[in-house]
């Protein structure tokens, strides 16, 4: 019987794929005609020199980074390195930035970034910071939206597959990180088939300092060993709660595609974090040994530090009665989305044909009147019928995620039937459906997961690209599609390729962020211990085999640009300060044979490249960023002598 159900699902999926391919061809053609007849081109055209209306921050997926796009043009503006080494500017290679990628596993140069979320005040986007999760080696990063730079990364202990992250509460009190894979806590050597009842799922609440943005783990809620897939905060009336979808409530540990798809309903875990916060503030919870990295980039020293933290506060949900409930939700729900009013909690049951919507008011009523339908590991399960607000009937196949506009509509993405469906919140009536090319994952409306969505555009982030662009071999970028959602029907305006594999994205009106964007770092604020802020600081110092070069650069020379007295076997640190205080005048620095990346130094900053010369000779250095008319002249030489040479260190600029 079980087997036949699985075959049936497989057939449905296959049928979905086939039909979407057919409709793909038709609609592809129709789309191009539509563009001509509805002036779509004009509506996404941003004239030379003009700016986009919105910033779109797209997760980089397996790039581990965050990409910034302009909307509606779909132009990529920047890639911000977060969890991955980035040779383009030396992030993760320089002495200053390698601590950012430190973890309890040592230096981890890559991750899988999924869900960016912009800071909020009163449930509205405020544009101070954007947070994003590293999925593989559980981490949360904070990126400042003045510098568009990763300012902080905190590792999440007791977690694995940090997927139901990073979502923030409506005043940015917490950034929340839930584990997708439950694991033994503490980690230990045990048989995998003892999973059931033994593994734990940690839901981590990280508090955020409102002035500095600094993160710190407030508590970890140690939940039963399910898979915590996605999450969203309550907002407005449901502020103080957090909702997590689960799958694998079967607690299977092998062949999950079958074994975790058996229960008719999994759960949305509703967590009253205010109650737990109060419990913790009154001394509740248990401190347990841990080991996790907290990495902070100091903007004045331009240098990151990594601190290992040895303890974390855990909370057993059973110790805080009334803090956690399970809402039964059909068919392995994926996305967990809360509408702008905070009343409706949508479980996107990815193996279901229907969308289940829970009511927050009914949930509170069911809790107060104890309308329970059993319990799981001591956590009350609310009665499905009593909390159900409604069902969106047969909107499509494979619902994944839902976003909201400012007119009371919801937009759900369907992976299997490859479409976006617009429906009315409250009446559950399907209003419109548009095919996407192909197989959409997340969708994004700027502010679409806040109390104040900006309902101009919907961006579908598709998982399959196939024939949408000129072929580039087997490996391609992903494809996003921009819809205008101002009218009754969604209108497809634009396809644009996205870098890596964007999962979620976050959009914000440009006017909130653009005016605060930094142009330079002030030299006067540069507190880097190896900075050479003026020519009198320029020097070369030897300390055994270590050589420190205090170098600066300004259009169009290095000071010094001739160095002698370096020996094979030395470890040379080029500490390079960019003395420019002019917007968009970075200088690069590269040296032949360096087993690392270049430096790209912004005006007023100091960065360090490490070079271990292996060959005797005279070796060039040069500026890698076309900085000025005399850029090609921006070069120098370093003389490397044999290890036993007695040539003294010397350095110069402009001397014959």
């Amino acid at each position: 019987m079980k087997k036949s159900i699985n075959i049936a699902i497989a057939l449905v999926m296959a049928a979905g794929m086939v039909s979407c391919n057919d409709s793909g061809k038709q609609n592809g053609k129709k789309g191009s005609q539509g563009g001509l007849s509805t002036n779509a081109a004009e509506r996404v055209y941003v004239a030379p020199g003009e700016h986009d209306e919105y910033y779109g921050f797209f997760s980089g997926g397996y790039t581990g980074n965050l990409t910034v796009y302009g909307l509606p043009s779909g132009r990529m503006l920047k890639e911000i390195p977060v969890f991955s080494q980035f040779p383009t500017n030396g992030y993760g290679y320089t002495e200053e930035t390698t601590p950012m990628l430190n973890t309890s596993f040592g230096f981890v140069p890559w991750d899988d970034s999924h869900h960016p979320d912009i800071s909020q005040t009163n449930g509205e986007l405020d544009g101070r910071w954007i947070f994003i999760n590293g999925n593989n080696t559980p981490r949360i990063a904070r990126i400042g939206l003045e510098s568009f730079k990763t300012e902080e990364i905190i590792e999440i202990p007791n977690s694995a597959g940090n997927h139901s992250s990073s979502f923030i509460t409506e005043n940015t009190e917490y950034v929340v990180a839930g584990t997708r894979f439950s694991v033994p806590v503490p980690q230990r050597d045990m048989s995998i088939n003892e999973y059931k009842g033994q593994f734990k799922g940690a839901l981590t609440f990280i508090n955020v300092d409102q002035e500095t943005g600094r993160m710190g783990i407030k508590f970890q809620l140690m939940m039963p060993g399910f898979n915590y897939d996605l999450s969203h905060p309550g907002r407005d009336k449901s502020h103080g709660w957090f909702f997590f979808t689960t799958y694998n409530t079967e607690e299977a540990h092998t062949l999950l595609e079958v074994n975790a798809s058996q229960n008719d309903k999994d759960f949305i875990a509703a967590v009253n974090w205010k109650k737990i916060e109060e419990y913790v503030n009154n001394g509740g919870g248990k401190k347990v040994p841990a080991n996790y990295a907290h990495n902070i980039m100091d903007e004045n020293t331009h240098t990151a530090t990594s601190t290992m933290i040895k303890e974390v506060l855990t909370v057993d949900p059973l110790d805080v009665p009334g803090a956690v409930y399970f809402l039964p939700t059909p068919k392995s729900p994926h996305g967990c989305d809360v509408d702008p009013t905070g009343e409706y909690i949508i479980g996107n049951g990815k193996l279901s044909a229907d969308l289940t919507v829970h009511s927050f008011t009914k949930m509170i009523d069911a809790i107060e009147n104890k309308k329970f339908d059993g319990e799981a590991y001591g956590i009350p399960i609310l009665n499905f019928e009593d909390i159900l607000a409604g069902v969106v009937k047969q909107p499509g196949l494979g619902p994944l995620h839902t976003e909201f506009d400012n007119k009371g509509n919801a937009y759900t993405t369907f992976f299997i039937s490859s479409e976006v469906v617009k429906w009315k919140v409250g009446t559950w009536e399907v209003l419109d459906r548009q095919p996407v090319f192909y197989s959409v994952g997340h969708g994004m409306i700027p502010g679409g997961n806040s109390r104040k969505p900006f309902g101009d555009y919907f961006v579908a982030m598709n998982k399959i690209t196939k024939d949408r662009y000129l072929p580039t071999g087997p490996e391609m970028e992903h494809s996003a599609q921009l819809f205008d959602i101002n009218g009754d029907k969604m209108e497809l305006l634009l396809d644009f390729p996205t870098h890596g594999e964007p999962h979620y994205a976050a959009g914000i009106p440009a006017e909130i962020v653009a005016p605060k964007s930094k142009k330079i770092y002030k030299l006067a604020d540069n507190k880097h211990p190896y900075a050479s802020l003026s020519n009198s600081d320029v020097r070369v110092e030897r300390n055994g085999k270590e050589v420190h070069v205090y170098m600066n650069m300004i259009r169009s020379h290095f000071n010094p640009d001739n160095i002698e007295g370096i020996k094979v076997g030395d470890k040379v640190y080029f500490h390079v300060t960019n003395l420019e205080q002019d917007f968009d005048v970075p200088h690069g620095f590269a040296v032949i044979g360096a087993n690392t990346a270049e430096l790209l130094v912004m005006p007023g900053a100091t960065e360090t490249l490490t070079w271990e010369p292996k060959k005797v000779g005279v070796w060039p250095i040069y500026c890698t960023d076309f900085c000025s008319a005399l850029h090609q002249e921006m070069q120098g030489y370093v003389r490397v002598s044999p290890a036993d040479s007695d040539i003294e260190l010397s350095w110069s600029l402009g001397e014959d």
Binding site: I520, I554, R555, Q581, A629, L630
Partner: protein, 203 residues
């Protein structure tokens, strides 16, 4: 002559604006400088319109061998001008007060105006001499030595007044708030002269 004396006092006091507002402004825009670099010329020294403009103008000027923009202590003008302006304000106020109490003739008002005009013209002349020196006394080892079509070395004197295209830069040189305040103040002293004349006649 109460009214005329008051106008004379107000007119001379307007010169105090020079201690707060720039006298002249020179803006340099270029394709790569959509937000132009700029300098404000005060009687006490030269400042950038934005925090790092002077440094950035100097950085660009070094390519064509121009000297750096002088600091306040590098030019005698920046210590003398404030004294001259301060003295003229004091003199104007004293004349105005004496006029107010009928101790001096309205002709003194015109006398002050003529003296101020002469000093102003001398100031402009001196400023222009500095612009010429700044734009033509170039480092012989300059990175870029450009020539005019007729083969003479190119020079870079910014315009005293108005617009000029210089290499890739659009240079605009115009009076600023301080200059408008002196102009208004000086005009008021002329008004004071005529009002004084009228008041004297009607007495």
């Amino acid at each position: 002559m109460k009214k005329a004396g008051l106008i004379m006092i107000i007119g001379s006091l307007l010169l105090l604006g020079l201690f707060k507002f720039p006298l002249w402004n020179i803006m340099l825009g270029a394709p790569q400088y959509p937000d132009p670099l700029g300098m404000n010329i005060y009687i006490q020294g030269i400042e950038g319109v934005e925090e790092f403009d002077i440094q950035n103008i100097d950085g660009l000027n070094h390519y064509i061998g121009m000297k750096t923009i002088p600091k306040a202590e590098d030019m005698w003008e920046f210590s003398v001008f404030p004294k001259v302006v301060g003295g003229m304000v004091a003199l104007g106020v004293i004349i105005g007060l004496l006029g107010f109490f009928g101790k001096v003739s309205y002709k003194w008002f015109l006398g002050w105006f003529i003296l101020m005009s002469i000093l102003g013209l001398l100031g402009m002349y001196d400023f222009n001499l500095w612009l010429i020196d700044y734009g033509t006394d170039l480092d012989p080892k300059a990175i870029m030595k450009l020539e005019n079509l007729d083969g003479t070395p190119m020079t870079y004197k910014p315009p005293l007044l108005g617009y000029q295209k210089m290499l890739n830069f659009d240079v605009d040189s115009w009076p600023a708030t301080g200059a408008y305040m002196i102009f208004t103040g000086m005009m008021l002293t002329v008004v004071a002269f005529f009002v004084g004349k009228y008041e004297s006649k009607s007495n």
